[in-house]
C-alpha cells in the first residue's frame, strides 16, 4: 500500500517535471501552430470583416458552398494536381538516379555533390528571377532551342507552357535535396547482401531491383510524402512568375496563390480559411492513400 502511493507520487512527479521540460516547446507550438489551426477551423465558418470595424458573422457552410461554384478554385486545383502529378515522380526518379551515380566510384564525386546541391540551398526567389531571365523570349533557353532548330516558346507569356516552365525549375531545384537523402540511405545498405547476390550470380540490374530498391522503400515513402506536400503548397515561384496574378489566363494559379489573393487582396479571410482547410484535407487524403499503398508490401 505504502509502496504503491510512493510509486504513484514519484510517477506524478516525473510526469510533472517531464511536462515542465516540455513547456517551452508546448508554448511555442501552441501559439504558432495549435491556436492558429483552431482559429482556422472556427473562422472558416464565419464571414470575417477585418478592415475598419472588425466583425464576425456566422455563415454556416456558405464559404464551402461558394467553393463549388468558384471557377478559379477548380482551375487552381487542376493546375496544382497537374503540377504534383508531373513534378513528384520526375523529381523522385531523378533523385534516385543522381544518388546512384554519385554512389559509384567516379572521379570528382564530392565536387559533383556540391554542384548538384547548390540549387537547393539557393533562395527560391533568386532562382525564380534567374529562371525568368533564362525563359525570356530572347533568353538562354530559346537561343539554345533555336540553335538546335527546335521550336521556341514565349515561356512567360504563353499559358500553355508557363506552368511547365515552373515545373522544370522546381524539379531542378528540389531533386538534389532528395538526392542527398537517397545517398544517405544507400550508404546504409549492407555490402554483404550485394556480395551474396554476386556469388549467386545476380546481374547488376537484378541487384538494383531486388536489393537496392526494397531497401530504399521507407526513404521513398518519405521523399514522396514531402514532395507532395511541398508541391501542393507551391506559391513563391508562381507568385513571382505572374506578379501575383496567377496569369496568363490563370495558367499559373495554384491553390496557395488563390488563398493568398482572397486573404490579402480581397481581405476575405473566412473564405480564404475555408480554402486552406480544403487544401489541408486534400493533402491529408493523398498522404493516407499513399500510406496504405506502401503498407501493403512493407519491407520489414
Amino acid at each position: 500500500m505504502l509502496n504503491k502511493t510512493l510509486w504513484n507520487k514519484r510517477s506524478t512527479r516525473e510526469t510533472l517535471s517531464g511536462y515542465l521540460f516540455m513547456t517551452p516547446a508546448i508554448v511555442v507550438l501552441g501559439i504558432f501552430l495549435i491556436i492558429p489551426v483552431i482559429f482556422t477551423i472556427v473562422l472558416a465558418f464565419y464571414r470575417v470583416q477585418l478592415l475598419g470595424e472588425i466583425s464576425f458573422r456566422f455563415a454556416g457552410f456558405k464559404n464551402f458552398v461558394r467553393m463549388g461554384s468558384d471557377e478559379r478554385v477548380w482551375i487552381a486545383l487542376q493546375n496544382t494536381v497537374e503540377y504534383v502529378a508531373i513534378v513528384v515522380p520526375i523529381q523522385t526518379i531523378l533523385a534516385i538516379v543522381l544518388a546512384l551515380i554519385l554512389n559509384t566510384q567516379i572521379k570528382g564525386k564530392s565536387w559533383f555533390r556540391v554542384a548538384f546541391f547548390l540549387p537547393t540551398v539557393t533562395s527560391s526567389a533568386v532562382l525564380t528571377l534567374i529562371f525568368m531571365w533564362i525563359y525570356n523570349t530572347n533568353g538562354l533557353l530559346n537561343s539554345f532551342l533555336s540553335f538546335l532548330r527546335l521550336p521556341t516558346y514565349n515561356w512567360l507569356g504563353d499559358p500553355d507552357v508557363a506552368l511547365k516552365g515552373i515545373m522544370l525549375m522546381n524539379i531542378w531545384a528540389t531533386a538534389p535535396l532528395f538526392m542527398v537523402i537517397y545517398l544517405a540511405a544507400l550508404q546504409d545498405i549492407p555490402e554483404s547482401l550485394y556480395e551474396a547476390a554476386s556469388i549467386d550470380g545476380a546481374t547488376p540490374w537484378e541487384k538494383f531491383w531486388c536489393i537496392t530498391l526494397p531497401f530504399l522503400k521507407p526513404v521513398t515513402f518519405f521523399v514522396i510524402v514531402m514532395g507532395i506536400i511541398g508541391t501542393f503548397q507551391l506559391f513563391d515561384q508562381s507568385y513571382i512568375f505572374s506578379g501575383g496574378s496567377g496569369g496568363p489566363n490563370n495558367a499559373t494559379l495554384t491553390i496557395v496563390l488563390l488563398i493568398y489573393q482572397y486573404a490579402f487582396k480581397n481581405l476575405d479571410m473566412g473564405y480564404a480559411l475555408a480554402l486552406t482547410l480544403m487544401l489541408a484535407l486534400v493533402i491529408m487524403t493523398v498522404t493516407l492513400i499513399q500510406r496504405s499503398l506502401f503498407k501493403e508490401e512493407s519491407f520489414d
Binding site: 478592415l51 523570349t137 533568353g139 514565349n154 507569356g157 499559358p159 489566363n249 481581405l267
Partner: protein
C-alpha cells in the same frame, strides 16, 4: 475635515503633476511615420530633402520616412488591420474607394483652412478621394497617358506626323513593323500593355462602360467590345503590335527604349526614364489618337491620406499640408516624374516645357480617372486574365469578356 482637505489638496497636487507631465510630453518631439513607394531613387532623395525642410520648420515633429516597394497595398491593408499603420501614407485612386468605405481614413475637411486653397487642385483629382462630401486625401500628383514615338523609326518609314486617329495609328503600325529575313518581326509598330488600367478609355470610346451603378462589372457589351476589338485585331490580324513578353522586355517603356516597338502609350514617368536609361533614344510625345472621333486617355493619381487611428493627427495634417503646398509642389514638379496636382503649378509648367509634357497636360481635360468603386480590384484581376487569353487567341473576345464579367460579378455578389 482636516483630513479631507489634505487629501483633496494631495489629489489636486497629483492632478497637477500629471497634467504637467502630459504637457511635457506634448512639448517634446513627436514622431510621425510617412509611408510610400519609390518609383525612382531620385524622387526619393527629393522627398527626403523636402522632409528635412519640414522638420526644420516644425522642430518638434520628426518624420520617419519609410519605403514599401513590393505589394504596397497588401502591406498597408494588413498594417491597418493590425493597428500599426503609418500616420500618413500614399494611396492610389484605384484603391481609395475600399479604404474610404471601411472608414479607416481620417476625413480631412475640418483640417483644411482657407489659405490652403483646396480649390486650386484639379477637381477630378480631388473627387477621386471624396466620398459623401468628405475629403479623405490630398492628391500629390498625377499623370495621364500620351503617345510616345520613336522619331528615328518614323523618319525611316517616312512618316512626318504622329497619328491623329486610331485608324492612322493602325496604318502607321503596319508601316513601322520591320521583319528579319526569316519573317519574324524584330520591331513592331505599336507596344501594348494588355491590362485594364490602360484599356478603360478604349472601352468607353464607343459608349461602353466598365461598371454599372452598383459597381458590378458591365464591360461585356457590344459597345465596349467594339473598342477592345481594335486592340485584339491589330495584335492578331495585322501582327503589328506586341506586348512586353513577346519581345523579351520587362515593361512597355523597355520595349520602346530597346527599339522593339516604335509607338507606345505611356505617362509622365517615362520622360525622365528614357532620358536617363536610353539617352540615345530620340522620342517625342503626342496626344493619344482619337478613337471613334473622340479624345480619350487615362489619368492616374496618388494622394496623401491620414490614418484614422493616428495618435498625432495635427502633426500628420501639418505634414500633408506642407507636402502639397504650392511651394513644395513647384520644386518636386521639376523632376518631371508626374504632373503637379495644383492647377496654379501646372499652369506654370504648361508654358515652360511645351514640347514633351504638353500632350500629357492637354489630356487632363478629357482623361478618365483610373477608379471605379471598391469592386475594381476583383474586376481588374478577371479582366486581365481573360483579355490576355483573347489576345493570344484562346477564345473570342466576346466569350472572354462575358466570362470575365460573369466571374467578377459572381465574386462581387458572394463577397457582399
Amino acid at each position: 475635515m482636516k483630513k479631507l482637505l489634505s487629501s483633496l489638496a494631495f489629489s489636486a497636487l497629483l492632478l497637477l503633476t500629471t497634467a504637467c507631465r502630459s504637457r511635457d510630453q506634448n512639448e517634446g518631439t513627436i514622431e510621425i511615420t510617412l509611408s510610400g513607394w519609390q518609383s525612382n531613387p531620385i524622387e526619393s532623395q527629393l522627398l527626403e530633402k523636402v522632409i528635412d525642410q519640414f522638420e526644420a520648420k516644425y522642430p518638434n515633429i520628426k518624420v520617419k520616412h519609410e519605403v514599401i516597394n513590393s505589394q504596397y497595398m497588401d502591406v498597408i491593408k494588413t498594417r491597418l488591420i493590425g493597428d500599426v499603420a503609418p500616420d500618413v501614407f500614399y494611396l492610389d485612386a484605384f484603391e481609395a474607394p475600399l479604404l474610404m468605405k471601411f472608414e479607416v481614413l481620417e476625413p480631412l475637411n475640418s483640417y483644411i483652412k482657407p489659405e490652403f486653397n483646396i480649390s486650386d487642385f484639379e477637381p477630378t483629382l480631388i473627387n477621386a478621394f471624396k466620398r459623401n462630401e468628405k475629403i479623405y486625401g490630398i492628391p500629390k500628383d498625377f499623370s495621364t497617358l500620351a503617345l510616345f514615338y520613336d522619331q528615328t523609326a518614323f523618319a525611316k518609314a517616312d512618316i512626318k506626323q504622329p497619328p491623329k486617329t486610331w485608324n492612322e495609328l493602325i496604318q502607321y503600325s503596319k508601316k513601322l513593323t520591320r521583319s528579319e529575313p526569316d519573317g519574324k518581326p524584330n520591331r513592331y509598330g505599336f507596344g501594348i500593355t494588355p491590362e485594364l488600367p490602360r484599356q478603360q478609355f478604349i472601352i468607353q470610346a464607343f459608349g461602353g462602360k466598365l461598371v454599372d451603378r452598383n459597381n458590378y462589372a458591365a464591360f461585356a457589351t457590344p459597345e465596349s467590345l467594339k473598342g477592345l476589338q481594335l486592340v485584339i485585331e491589330q495584335y492578331r490580324r495585322d501582327r503589328s503590335s506586341a506586348q512586353p513578353s513577346d519581345v523579351g522586355a520587362s515593361s512597355g517603356d523597355d520595349m520602346l527604349g530597346q527599339g522593339r516597338v516604335a509607338m507606345l502609350l505611356s505617362g509622365a514617368w517615362s520622360i525622365p526614364y528614357f532620358k536617363e536609361t536610353f539617352p540615345n533614344l530620340k522620342f517625342a510625345t503626342a496626344e493619344v489618337p482619337t478613337i471613334n472621333g473622340r479624345k480619350g486617355t487615362m489619368a492616374y493619381t496618388v494622394a496623401y491620406v491620414m490614418n484614422r487611428k493616428s495618435t498625432h493627427k495635427e502633426a500628420a495634417w501639418k505634414l500633408i499640408e506642407y507636402l502639397t503646398s504650392e511651394a513644395v509642389m513647384k520644386t518636386s514638379g521639376n523632376q518631371g516624374f508626374a504632373l503637379p496636382s495644383r492647377r496654379s503649378v501646372l499652369a506654370e509648367l504648361q508654358s515652360d516645357r511645351t514640347s514633351l509634357y504638353a500632350p500629357l497636360i492637354a489630356g487632363a481635360k478629357y482623361a478618365t480617372t483610373w477608379q471605379a468603386g471598391e469592386t475594381l480590384p476583383t474586376i481588374l484581376t478577371n479582366f486581365d486574365n481573360q483579355f490576355v487569353s483573347a489576345l493570344i487567341g484562346q477564345q473570342s473576345l466576346k466569350d472572354a469578356m462575358q466570362k470575365a464579367q460573369d466571374t467578377a460579378n459572381r465574386e462581387i455578389y458572394l463577397s457582399n
